[in-house]
Symmetry: C2
Subunit: 355 residues, 2 copies
């Protein structure tokens, strides 16, 4: 029998804290019965939630944390006030100590990133970690990174993103040799910024093992699932992700408005309701952002998952499941191997270059 | 009676050339009966299309052009081979000579941009022109720029984009004092790149007349219509635009799949069809990219509109109508005034800085 997967939760993170994170963990446990939980945060608030969830209570240990990082804390403030004492820090530290296989937080991204970097450190050969998102596509899912861990970056950073994204796709999407595209403003060779062009040339001429470089892709190719991994730096990646979320919500709003618009349409819908229900349920499942909640930090010495701050129980459970899968399928050793092979002929980065 | 609006068309541009541009012009003429057309391109191909469109033929003059810029020509090649002889160049030149009030092309963006800059020159005080898109939102439409005319740019460029975008919103969206947001990866002060932060500080402390600066906005705010004008540099703007187009297409594909998925759903749809038809037609109209086709070059000494290369007759007609409206509502003098007021205390840029 495989080892159980131990997940450390920042129970206080997100807009709702334990009222969402604890029921979310319970839901994830239903689907991943061999998970175990370390719950960090305000002991009485967590235990109040656990009282109604005996199955989770059995598989969980509560560790009191006196401090909760606020959603609007600057990273520097969060680090100063929350280091070693906040629920966020302690959840990450449990991974560092080997007491947990992955940490999950819905807390603020900047603080989580800063604490994870300070506590876990980046992997050898990685200068800056990345935040990778699982993006629903017409073909299934793709890995898109970086969606906001760091801004900008040169060609080498983009190549590392390609290597790490491919390792994540191998771990999670079950593709042996993932295809990788570089996000650009046009597919012609003449376009784009210098770093993106240089990274493309490198990936073409010296393709790292374990991935197939496709070339440039444009924003509209992401949703088509043209490639398994879409690589871009954090500013444009975050804007792409948020814009896609906004557009999906917008189209859903149009649909609701169109269906509520006329009495006739409403009567028609009512008549056809039992028959249409399944179709709309499928549509909703496909476009429900809760089903893809959970972005993965790549390049750290430990698995850390970032849930949306506004996620509800269902969304948070999904982030916990992603943490489970990443640990179960050994994301870390996949990443380490991929980076080691790709950078085999380079000297290790000096310690001070690990920002 | 107002003067007729004279529109110069690059009849050869786009994936389909005269087969789309000429019927597109005819459709636009139905809606804007006081438009007149100069049609540049292969005379016999244009006349063959015009034969079936007597109303357009009456309002149009055909000017033969020996060269058509190809969709995959590099801008430098297009300029070398097409300067003074291509349909694209001649359409732009008609604006320069005052023979037309606006030019429309579905030809390749890079070539159009290069030719427009060389032929028309940029306005005084503008170092780089921008490409602005009309973005459908839940509140109506917003202006988003730059969607790909130039990559990167400092704080001053972003402030100019804000000023030009606001002038376009005043011209086209009928808002006296448009709200302007800077696209960023988070709404907190701490995030983003240096240029974006510097532009934000400037817009807050010395707001140019005629716009209300809102602050940072994220990608998911564009579709909500949170602000009238969304400003970002061309790389991220192009990625946001394409990603939104891709996501809208993706949701539409999900919807079709959901509705075609089961026999039961199909029967239900068939039963309810007459009643649902109007609702779906509304939805389609809202999400049909053809209804927002036509991006506007801002900052040039003349109105140039870029249509999608793949646009059909309906889409191309929309781009022609945007050209009409921009000319009719005096985009150019609005832009000139806004820039003059904003840069009143600066010396003019030396000629060589107009790239």
């Amino acid at each position: 029998m495989p080892q159980p997967i131990r997940i450390a939760l920042d129970a206080m993170g997100g807009d709702f804290g334990p009222a969402v994170t604890i029921p979310g963990a319970a839901l994830a446990l239903e689907r991943r019965p061999d998970a175990q939980f370390l719950l960090f945060g305000d002991e009485s608030a967590i235990k109040a939630e656990l009282a109604a969830l005996p199955k989770l209570a059995q598989k969980a240990r509560v560790i009191h944390a006196a401090v909760a990082v606020r959603m609007d804390d600057k990273p520097s403030v969060a680090l100063r006030q929350g280091r070693r004492v906040s629920s966020m820090w302690l959840a990450i530290e449990a991974v560092k100590k080997g007491e947990a296989d992955a940490a999950v937080s819905a807390g603020n991204t900047g603080a989580l990133m800063a604490m994870a970097k300070v506590c876990l450190k980046t992997m050898a050969k990685v200068d800056r970690p990345a935040l990778a998102s699982l993006w629903p596509t017409l073909r299934g899912q793709s890995v898109v990174l970086d969606v906001g861990a760091s801004i900008g970056g040169g060609a080498r950073h983009l190549v590392d993103l390609a290597i790490m994204g491919a390792a994540m796709a191998r771990t999670f999407l079950n593709v042996e040799t993932p295809t990788v595209g570089l996000l650009n403003v046009g597919v012609e060779e003449i376009k784009g910024v210098e770093e993106v062009k240089a990274a493309s040339t490198f990936l073409k001429e010296q393709p790292p093992p374990g991935l197939r470089y496709h070339g440039f892709v444009e924003g509209d190719s992401i949703g088509k699932g043209l490639v398994d991994v879409v690589v871009t730096e954090g500013f444009s990646g975050n804007i792409a992700l948020k814009t896609a979320e906004g557009t999906a919500a917008q189209v859903a709003a149009y649909l609701r408005a169109a269906l509520n618009g006329s009495l006739a349409a409403r009567i028609g819908l009512f008549l056809a309701y039992p028959l249409l229900r399944r179709a709309f349920r499928e549509l909703r499942a496909k476009t429900d952002p809760r089903n893809v909640n959970g972005a993965v930090f790549l390049g750290l010495e430990g698995v850390v998952i970032k849930s949306h701050g506004g996620a509800d129980r269902v969304g948070f459970a999904r982030a916990v499941e992603i943490a489970y899968e990443m640990a179960r399928n050994e994301l870390q050793s996949n990443l380490r191997n991929a980076l080691a092979v790709a950078h085999a002929d380079e000297p290790a980065l000096p310690e001070e270059m690990h920002q």
